[in-house]
Amino acid sequence: MTIRALEKVSVGQNGIGAFILQCRKLDVHYCNQSGSSRGMNSFIKSQLSKFASLNPQIEFAVSPRPRKHPVLIGHYINGKHKSICVKNMDSLQILKKAELLRDASGDKIKRVNKPITSINESVRGVWSPYHGNGMAV
């Protein structure tokens, strides 16, 4: 009896059926004294409550880091994290960076130098040395 593999009917993708946000946590670090944190402090005061209530899946941890530049650190469900230094930025610029971290997948940034990317497997299949008629050398 021939064993036949189950045919794959679809490729699993985030957002097909369910969408799971890849960013799970966002660290918000600021400094009370330094001037480079001025925008970050105003972001925490003015923008963060709305942004956090719009993204309830993400855990926001606000804590000071004295004598350091302000930083946003996103933690992702693949175990990686991505940090952005937001020194001297105003609160709207920092909001953009927070949205960037929220939307990121957490994957390493790869170079894309092909014009087309596809998630479908090639119709030609994978070459195997055990199949076919062989080649006379």
Binding site: Y30, N32, K45, N55, V62, S63
Partner: protein
């Protein structure tokens, strides 16, 4: 507590016109550091230091008493103590009567000798190495070094091989932090009061007092005194009476005082013969916030429209408010102050919160109430992360197995150099 070098007088003020009598410290608290005044003020200490022998000549004879009874005559108290102790020692050790020195058991012997030394030292009074008061502070005792082991005449003396059982002597730890070692008269007396007044009712009362005083000086024609230093000491009752004056702005902009201006102006005259030795005792009771708030209800609101556009008046009022409350008007805001109302608006601004967390707790509670937001007031350290994960307990167990302290670095102290610089060991 580190001290700054003391100034004799508030800088930039001449001695004839600037004798200061703040409620906290009087003018006599500022003492010039001349040797004549010191010797006059402290005759006992001067005579004590004169009778004190120098350490180089005194220490061998003093300390040899710990080791020997042959080199110098011991005090009368020490000999019977030593004798009784030797008798006790012999009674406690009957198994070795032929060897009272007990060379086989040096540890016991050393402890015994150390105990004798302690007994002698407790009886002894260190009159000759008394701490000396120099200027505004009391210097520590001069250093006294023990005689070397080979210089001790007592043949029975054996130096200790370990510190166990010996008494610790010396060290300056905490000497400069003790308030007793600093004379109160040496404290720096500045123009600004020591404590800044932040209550709005007290600030308003100080502004009203300043306006009344400036108006009184102007009314009687003593405009030159506007730039001088005025005494601040006034009794609580007098101050309340002054603040209860009817202060109004007339139609032509002039200030109408509801009391005798000459009396107020006389109180603003600086008296150089003022004796402030008992300023601490005669400190008048300060105006309380409730009293100031109750008084402010009775004031005519037109007093806030009094003009401060004249720069001499504005300077005199802001200077006086700074002297009374410690609230300094920034230079860039001085030009915008034209009335009492604008001055109060600048002064009564609530202080900024020190940290962002405090501000969030005060004004942005909506952020703290969100379930997915945690706000931590202090830096989150690696240890905090381990504790949050629950891994710290495992680490503690492993630390215990390896005899490593769970917190810190064990025997290594933090900031050892700092404690040494402050006189510690």
């Amino acid at each position: 507590m580190r001290r700054i070098p003391r100034l004799r007088r508030p800088s930039g003020l001449t001695s004839s016109t600037t004798k200061l009598s703040r409620p906290t410290a009087g003018p006599s608290n500022i003492t010039p550091f001349s040797s004549s005044s010191q010797s006059q003020s402290q005759p006992t200490i001067a005579s004590r230091s004169a009778s004190r022998s120098t350490p180089s000549s005194s220490y061998p004879s003093n300390l040899s008493r710990f080791y020997s009874s042959q080199q110098t005559p011991t005090p009368e108290k020490a000999t019977p103590v030593k004798a009784t102790l030797v008798q006790e020692q012999q009674a406690q050790e009957p198994e070795n009567p032929e060897n009272p020195g007990n060379p086989e058991n040096p540890g016991t012997d050393l402890q015994f000798k150390a105990r004798i030394a302690d007994e002698i030292e407790e009886d002894r009074e260190w009159v000759d190495v008394e701490a000396v008061s120099e200027g505004p502070y009391t210097a520590p005792r001069p250093r006294v070094e023990a005689a070397r082991a080979d210089e001790v005449a007592d043949p029975d003396y054996a130096p200790a091989s370990s510190a166990a059982g010996l008494r610790t002597v010396g060290g300056l730890a905490g000497w400069w932090n003790r308030r007793d070692n600093w004379a109160a008269r040496g404290d720096f007396v500045g123009f600004r009061p020591r404590d800044k007044v932040v209550e709005s009712s007290l600030i308003e009362a100080a502004v009203r007092r300043a306006v009344i005083e400036v108006s009184a000086l102007r009314e009687i024609g003593r405009e030159d005194d506007l730039i001088g230093v005025w005494p601040t000491t006034v009794s609580n009752g007098d101050l309340q009476g002054l603040l209860a004056w009817d202060l109004k702005r007339a139609e032509d902009g002039a200030v109408v005082l509801g009391g005798d201006a000459a009396t107020v102006a006389e109180g603003l005259r600086w008296r150089d013969d003022e004796d402030g030795t008992d300023d601490y005792a005669a400190l008048p009771e300060a105006l309380t916030t409730d009293q100031a708030a109750a008084l402010s209800q009775t004031w005519d609101p037109s007093w806030k429209t009094i003009s401060l556009a004249d720069h001499r008046i504005r300077f005199a009022v802001t200077k006086r408010v700074f002297q009374l409350t410690g609230q300094l008007v920034p230079d860039h805001q001085l030009t915008s102050i034209t009335t009492v109302q604008t001055l109060l608006h600048v002064l009564k601004k609530p202080p900024k919160p020190a940290t962002l967390t405090q501000e969030l707790q005060k004004r942005h509670l909506d952020l703290l109430e969100l379930p997915n937001v945690t706000v931590v007031p202090k830096r989150v350290t690696r240890g905090d992360k381990e504790i949050a994960l629950g891994r710290f307990k495992l680490m503690q167990d492993e630390f215990k197995k390896r005899k490593i302290p769970a917190y810190g670095h064990g025997y290594a102290r933090k900031g050892k150099e700092i404690s040494r610089l402050r006189g510690g060991t």
